[in-house]
Amino acid sequence: MHSFEPTLPWLIVLLPLLGFALNGLAAFVAPTRKALPALVAPAAVGLAFVIAVVNFLAMRAAPPLAPVIVQGYSWMPVGSLQIDAALQLDQLSMLMTLIVTGVGFLIHVYSVGYMGADPGFARYMAYINLFIFFMLVLVLGSSFPVMFVGWEGVGLCSYLLIGFWFTEKANADAGKKAFIVNRIGDFGFLVAMFMIFANLGALDFATVFAAAPGAFPYAGAVVTTITLFLFLGATGKSAQIPLYIWLPDAMAGPTPVSALIHAATMVTAGVYMVARTSTLFALAPLSMTVVAGIGALTALFAATIGLAQYDIKKVLAYSTVSQLGYMFIGVGVGAFSAGIFHLMTHAFFKALLFLGSGAVIHAMHGALHHTHSKWDAQDMRNMGGLRKHLPITWVVMWIGTLAIAGVWPFAGFFSKDEIIWQAAARAVGPFHTWFTVYWVMALVAAMLTAFYMTRLMIMTFHGVSRLPEAEQQHLHEAPAVMWVPLAILAALSVVGGWFNIPEEIKRIPVLGWLPGGPWVHEWLQPVTRTADAIFGAQVGALSEASPLGGGEVAWAVISFAIAVAVIAIAASMVLRWQYRPALESPEPAGLKRLLWRKWYVDEIYDVLVVRPLVGASRWLWRWVDDAVIDGSVNGLASGSRGLGWLSSRLQTGQLNTYAFAVVVGVILLLAFVVL
């Protein structure tokens, strides 16, 4: 059996960079020409995808047991530390590369249609190409510093793209908020990186993961600290509590950006990072519990906020935060392949939903623009009954909704159910009580997901149209360049789950009659086997039944039934609710208002963090600085003034005299050293 040889691995990374260079040049030289960016940007990512597929097939033919490192050049040879610009090709990074380039390519194509009329088209294309480049660096980097380059780079691109329409202050502010919040997370990543270097003396994955099980005792303080800091980084990038606040604001960017960066790829970087460092996390059970706990809390919390939002993109944004929470439950309980699998299916259906909402907004915007209406094109209260105007969008959005709600046989059913089940099955270690709680939270969040997604669909597409007659005439379906990617993503949202059907479910009579098997799980086996081995040795075998009894099969059926029931109930409820257009609607009241105002988290942060900081600074300035420090300094100063007046006689103001004093000093020093 021949071994896996990467084919042109650098091109995967460099093609998007080349695209960025060309588009960036175009943005400067000929900002009004659109043909070049429209061609170059998707082509670069598409080619990268093709190469990734070629490599993937080669890897499938001969799965390597250890990661294949592609050396570039020596980047930072500093003393004993050798950091190379190198790519690491293994099963995990290969899968991520496929997702990033594949979904990325579709969104590039979609963007050609969506952003085609924007004057900053070339700049936009350059940014997203650059983003793809950095994301690939993040995914393919073979060491923490290289990964960090990608990590920072995607943050930068995110900032640039959120504030893409920077002439409006709100957009620019959203960009800055994302950047600053991300920086807090990056600080955690950096600290973790320094600690790893201080403890292991190396930063490349191969060395670190090989040395970690020997160097760190199980559940030791150092490895727990490192992983907690790493997770701080992940919360920043992947929008988890308490650093999730930037992501909803990030919807200020163009919608394809929201789909690409804030749903499908960048925000999953934290999940990827936890999976990548699974060896370290496996050594720190406390950190794992924290990861899963934050994930569960976020999943539930964000889902509740999603219930009461009116902005279509805001709902999807909180849905993204919630789904990311699921992924963290997955990786947090130790089911890394389940987390990564949900990452993959989520990339499909969330990109689909975002792009679909983009098509809706595109249509709404066009219609409102025609009649110069001041209505908000993104507020669902202004929509309703769009089904007959946007049939394709309607169909694909329903597919996405069923997928995210976890309805068999759509993608989300398999991935989300896997995570929920794993949370239950792994509730065996020292923290099993917590895990049980997480499991319940995840179940509740799943119900909420089905509810708010159904609400979104009904409010947007069904019922009576709340748009005036004049505008309705201008609603039209998106062009082919936009709906074809939607169709592809819809197809993926249907079949995406079949890549990882557990053996148990295969055995169920009706639900199991699908092509596929536990492929993703087996595929990722070489990457997670160290972590799995640590689990097996330290925690023991997994539980066969959930805390409430019943095995995987039973809960799969139950969750399917619940999802369908919730969708049906939600549909009938929302259809009965009377909505009025946004400008005429009263503010929500009661609990709804609490959810609508997002649990007042931004306000709480303002009160708890921002104002105390300002107040403390002011207090320090008034009392500590002015009174204590300045007082003592002034006292010292007046005391020294007398002394100074005496010694000032020595000061003649003549440069040469000073120079002579220096010379005398040098003579004394030299005499001391030499003689």
Binding site: N656, F660, I667, A671, V674
Partner: protein
Amino acid sequence: MIDIPFFLFVVFAVVAIGGGIGMVSSRNPVASLLFLVVTFFSLAGIYVLLNAQFIAAVQVIVYAGAIMVLFLFVIMLLNLGSDYHADIRRFGWIVAGFVAAGIIGGILSSGLTQPGLLAGGGGGALVDASVRDVGVVGAVAFPLFRDFAVPFEVTSLLLLVAAIGAVLLAKRRV
């Protein structure tokens, strides 16, 4: 047969010291400057004798070709070359200066040439070997860009700061 390199060294050394004396004692800044250039030249010659040809070339390019031209430019810009007045200090200071310079020179010459510092002395062979292997420029370039890469980058920063500082200082209104 006289030792030609040593003979050349003596000539250069005498010229260098003469240039130094001339620089310190000339009343005209332009004369001082030219004396200093002469000193720099003889130092370049001595560098060649010490098998540091590259340093010699850089010495001429940087010191004589750039720094001293800058001095000359400033002297001319401020028109200091034509109407100068005595700028040497009073007799007492001259005596003090000579005493200080003498002491420093004495300590340095005895300190630098103490046998402990010059023991071994295999560096010359190392230098000659690397000059033979990688050429005159390579002999300096390889350590400069490998072992001293970080200091080298820092000096580039220093130059940048100096350039900005000079522009700011010399601008008419800041």
